[in-house]
Subunit: 473 residues, 2 copies
Amino acid sequence: MKYAVILAGGVGSRFWPFSRELEPKQFMKIIGEASLLQATIQRLKGLVDPACTYIITNNIYFYEVKAQITKFRIPDKNIILEPQGKNTAPAVGLCAKLISQLDQDAVLLVLPSDHYIKNVGNFKKTLKKAIACATNNFLVTIGIKPTAPSIGYGYIRVGARCLKLGSRCLALGSNCLAYKVEKFLEKPDLNKAKKYFKDKKFFWNSGMFVWKASVFLEEVSKYLPKLHANLRLINSVNDIPKIWPKIEAISVDYGIMERSRRIALIPADFYWTDLGSWDALTEIFPKDKKGNISTADVLNLDSEGVCVFGRGQRLISTIGLKDVVIADTPDALLVCDRSKTQEVKKLVEMMKSLQRKEHQVHLTERRPWGSFTVLQQGVGFKIKLIEISPGKRLSLQRHKNRAEHWVVVSGTAKVTSGDNVNLVHSNESIYISKGVKHRLENLGRSAIKIVEVQTGAYLQEDDIERFQDDFKR
Amino acid sequence: MKYAVILAGGVGSRFWPFSRELEPKQFMKIIGEASLLQATIQRLKGLVDPACTYIITNNIYFYEVKAQITKFRIPDKNIILEPQGKNTAPAVGLCAKLISQLDQDAVLLVLPSDHYIKNVGNFKKTLKKAIACATNNFLVTIGIKPTAPSIGYGYIRVGARCLKLGSRCLALGSNCLAYKVEKFLEKPDLNKAKKYFKDKKFFWNSGMFVWKASVFLEEVSKYLPKLHANLRLINSVNDIPKIWPKIEAISVDYGIMERSRRIALIPADFYWTDLGSWDALTEIFPKDKKGNISTADVLNLDSEGVCVFGRGQRLISTIGLKDVVIADTPDALLVCDRSKTQEVKKLVEMMKSLQRKEHQVHLTERRPWGSFTVLQQGVGFKIKLIEISPGKRLSLQRHKNRAEHWVVVSGTAKVTSGDNVNLVHSNESIYISKGVKHRLENLGRSAIKIVEVQTGAYLQEDDIERFQDDFKR
């Protein structure tokens, strides 16, 4: 049986300010109506059964993943949660271990959740070739034919000779299914990248892999014996929190692929990008005659190669710029030379060290029950717009220092306030006094919106005492 | 007697998005706590009596000017209102006419309200020289010694010989009070500007003038006889609305200065800029070692010559930029190459032709009674933060299509709702039903803040029926 193992634990900071620690790239809608994670799942339709699709992610992303995968009928138990990120080798090893307990012959399609792929038909053909190859006990990596001397990707050098797949020997050329892998190479400098780009033996390392769970675990026991020993101690997801802290972080590439001798490469026959930076993103959007991209409300005067990505609701105007990326969100703006988009990571590090919060959360913060946006705060007051998803409720809670005025502006809210329970309809309001236990609930089938005006001397989020919570907070 | 005539009717679009049609440059706080208009008035302290200070502006700016000049004890009647802007010659002519009716020997200091001047001591010394010269029946212009080959200013070429002031002949050199003016020159191209800059006979035209009202009116009768005839028909401010539409727009420079033969130039002995563009603004702010200016919450990575002006409450980050101006407001962002800041005017023209609103008003819109900010709007609701100035009240009004929930978050509001009048204190709320006459009033001594949540199907500003209004709207 075929299984998908989708890696969705990344904290990708390179799309800041669109991505944040709590809303990383894989959960973002970059282009179209599906998030990158959802697009990754959609691409597998007809190839892997939803019941065989696993998603491994960090604990903190559980509700986000759950909300995003609902429509694909993937069972919640297929969301595997890591208490801490340990890079890819432990994550893939864990899934291999858990899945092989259910199916000894399982073939795993290991797929990052934050890449962009065009031509799904060819994607599936490539994966089918990889599955055939993996069935013959190879670790298969999907290689991308370079289209530019990129310094943003790792490279793989292949041998000239084809692989034997079972008894079948395949000629190099258009019919060849697989290459023997000679070497994995780190991201090169520009000179090396230019050399690699000219040489037909070099592929980009896509991070997409196909192998039998059993074969991968054999290689783990050989090259990462400590990890293997720890994985043996995990017999169910309940064991993860105990064992995980002991595990060392290491990537599949570094831990296994650079060492194993049974690796095959299948060339990809589709457009692929790992969307590793804002500049990579500019590849996939339509441009005007002067190379400008506008995904917002933009007025451009004499600008060239200016890529504007908007998420605020405001006008963005440019005059006389050349090759600049502008990424606009309600609480943070980035204006970056297009050749420097790799440096966004450094900027995020700066914010961390300055203990800011713009790298962590958006102004609209998601919660398992919906989201809230702080619209304004001043001395003694804070104004929030609260959205509650259908069927969801906030915790039963109490604040020591603040009162809350709620005006329902869309839908009907069930409001608990002390011993009273009321239905508060659109255009009605209710007042929650300081110190009174209260709860907001959406019994309806569409989201409801509530304007909350908090008043009080102390208005931080930590002034909350929870008595019951559907989300175990 | 000396009189100040301050020209405050400009719609200066070159500081967009900071300036807007309804909040032009002269009312902005560019640097420090005073607006440019207020700074212009402050500079005259000890030189001109507040009772002799006149401000001529457009009708629509009356309440803004009134609010800004309160603290200077300038009487409201000294605010002269133009129904339409007609450029500087009619404005100055009108003030000359009205003031000469009160004082035949009046000497006028004609001053733009939107310039930036450093060294007030020297400014006053220069003006005193100009007054001495004007007393001898010259039209005096203040000339600025060029500090760069600017293409943004008009130039004045002076003669080598000094003027006779009465019987006193003054030698050219450090003691010379005044130059004879040979020619006014339009804004030059860069080649001409370089030539002018090298030649000691050239000055920048500052637009600051000193003359007797009677002498100016004589020159108007000579060179602009139609204007003079119309001014004769204005015997009090009540005559302005009738006569003004007939008057042709023309500048003092073009209409009088380029033609008159009794012009003297007094060189300025102080730092001056007309703040004609964002780039001009960069001159007056402190810079870091790489020439970056940060007047906002900024993170700069490898940027040089980047000037960030912030008015939003958000983080602005830049990477690898060179010589760029970023001007950030809550509803509009400008990112402009520093050599192209003159083009902002074109951008504003684009917005006009697209019938946008970002060139007209800020997100926080000022009103005679205070201001309001639309924080959010969605289907069926709009959230506003309303501030009411001490002692002010909104009109008694009614809305056909919307209800309003008010939560007072600071101060105490007097609320009229139908036949009821209530005091609504901080942390209290009140509901105004659709169709009910209502009014908000601030009886206190400091501003009050109210969160307004509007609900209804139609939420535009034009759904308002006014029954009484302190501001004659």
